[in-house]
């Protein structure tokens, strides 16, 4: 049984070229970038090269890229920057953000900040007029994710950024799912800050970055040494950062082809799976992550589906309560207005660079058996 990985939005396998860079880094580039001797300065140069590689993928300046330990840290940092550099107590986000933003906002509320959680429509879009009318005199930040991690919807971030700009409010976007899947050009963008993560673009776990537009006031989240121009203390994760740089280089090189290939595979998978009766496609049909397919199957529960898929070698994810680690199905599926009984039966298949047409066809061939088996066992399935 050939393993079929279809959870690229959770994390990606590392690419051989990236691994090679990381191996070399671990073996040879071990100097501390803060040290004066050549070994240290070599590490420093390699970190700066990686920064240029990531900046190049972003269409940004190197000085606008700050490395972090994760996308989550970048999200926390962006909110922290707004809180510490802008006068005011109000922030705006939406109901279907990643928990790295939602829980950071909830923590800010406990400190006395007010947060507006904009609702979304059935596709996961916020209403731009509603956004504009939510802006107050004391609004310091708008944080709306670029690409939703569950349903794949691509938000109109440039329009959102234009509204933020018009009102002089900082605009942050969680771009973890966008990086490497959407063409980016920060030199022409309205985004002030964007969070990113290496392990979603075939790099290693444990390294992320925050893009911060030049001219934005920055304060550190972590206090300590003078790394990252005094803005992010802690000895640089040199192997991780170098690997992130290589992953960004490869991503830039193949972006167009990557998007076109994945979009074709996605449409093939969607078409095949939507043949299953009582299935509901989630998210926007076109404005979506090129590799994201999210479908709810009525009468069955997501985790059971994942276990049966795993048994035939397919790795996937779901937004059911049992997999969301809470009592309710995922807040994203609730946010787009799905009733509980449908949201529990969600399946997210996310494709990537190592996914083949055969993999897609295998899932199309075998998923119906799994759905039937669970439906036969379910007390909710209407009797013939």
């Amino acid at each position: 049984m050939k393993p079929i990985y279809m959870d690229y939005s959770a994390t990606t396998p590392i690419k051989p070229e990236v691994l090679q860079v990381m191996e070399e880094a671990l073996r040879e580039v071990y100097g501390n970038p803060s040290s004066v001797y050549e070994l240290g300065q070599t590490s420093k140069r390699r970190v700066e090269e990686a920064r240029e590689q990531l900046a190049s993928l972003l269409g940004a300046k190197s000085r606008e890229v700050f490395f972090t330990s994760s996308g989550t840290e970048a999200d926390n940092w962006a909110v922290h920057i707004a809180k510490k550099t802008k006068p005011g107590k109000h922030m705006i986000t939406c109901t279907i953000e990643h928990h790295a933003i939602l829980h950071t906002m909830e923590a800010a509320e406990k400190e006395g900040y007010e947060v507006t959680y904009l609702p979304v429509d059935k596709y996961g879009f916020i209403d731009l007029e509603e956004l504009e009318s939510a802006i107050r005199e004391d609004t310091i930040l708008i944080s709306i994710m670029y690409v939703n991690n569950e349903i794949g919807t691509i938000m109109p971030v440039e329009e959102i950024g234009a509204i933020a700009k018009k009102h002089g409010v900082l605009f942050h976007t969680d771009g973890v799912q966008a990086l490497g899947n959407v063409p980016l050009d920060m030199s022409k963008s309205n985004i002030d800050m964007m969070s990113m993560s290496a392990h979603k673009i075939y790099g290693p776990k444990g390294v992320g970055a925050l893009y911060i537009r030049q001219g934005t006031r920055v304060v550190p989240l972590l206090q300590g040494g003078a790394q990252e121009r005094r803005m992010r203390a802690g000895t640089e994760n040199v192997p991780g950062i170098m690997a992130f740089g290589e992953a960004a280089r490869l991503s830039k090189l193949h972006l167009k082809e990557h998007v076109e290939r994945l979009t074709k595979l996605r449409e093939r998978l969607k078409k095949g799976l939507m043949q299953i009766p009582e299935s509901f496609f989630n998210g926007h049909p076109e404005k979506r992550h090129p590799g994201n397919v999210n479908i709810c199957f009525k009468y069955i529960e997501g985790e059971s589906m994942l276990l049966l898929l795993d048994a035939i070698g397919v790795s996937a994810s779901s937004g059911s309560a049992c997999t969301s680690g809470s009592l309710d199905p995922s807040h994203v599926l609730m946010g787009i207005g799905l009733p509980h009984e449908i949201a529990h039966g969600s399946l997210r298949l996310t494709l990537g660079d190592f996914t083949t047409e055969e993999d897609v066809d295998y899932v199309i061939e075998h998923l119906p058996e799994i759905i039937n088996r669970l439906r036969e066992m379910s007390p909710l399935t209407p009797r013939e």
Partner: protein, 146 residues
Amino acid sequence: MYSKKVMDHFMNPRNVGEIENADGVGEVGNIRCGDIMRISIRVHDDVIDDIKFKTFGCGSAVASSSIATEMIKGKTIEEALKLTNKDVLDELGGLPTIKVHCSVLAEQALKAAVLDYANKHGKHYKELEGFSPDEDHPHDEHELEA
């Protein structure tokens, strides 16, 4: 995540289905939490000689109902009512903490089925006093104390 025994009962569930003209049927759980169990029983001379289940839920919900039906089949009603969620857990070799409520659901589904049988047949079991199948089954809130 799950023990071999849980996976065995999930992959090869025993006693799946519904008994035609069952003597008692019980359904517990709710759609919000994503688990619903329906157990139907056939009773002969106070012995549960057939039992079947249908479950909408995660792996541990399916495994809990499967193993519970296996443990109950052939038992007298008195014996069956002694079944607790802990017995289900022990027989499964344990469940992850956040899934313990699935074993509670299995115990309650069985009790609900027996209650239905008792009501239909004018029987009374003291073990069922105060039992209400409509009550929300307890869900464990997750908290950590270091």
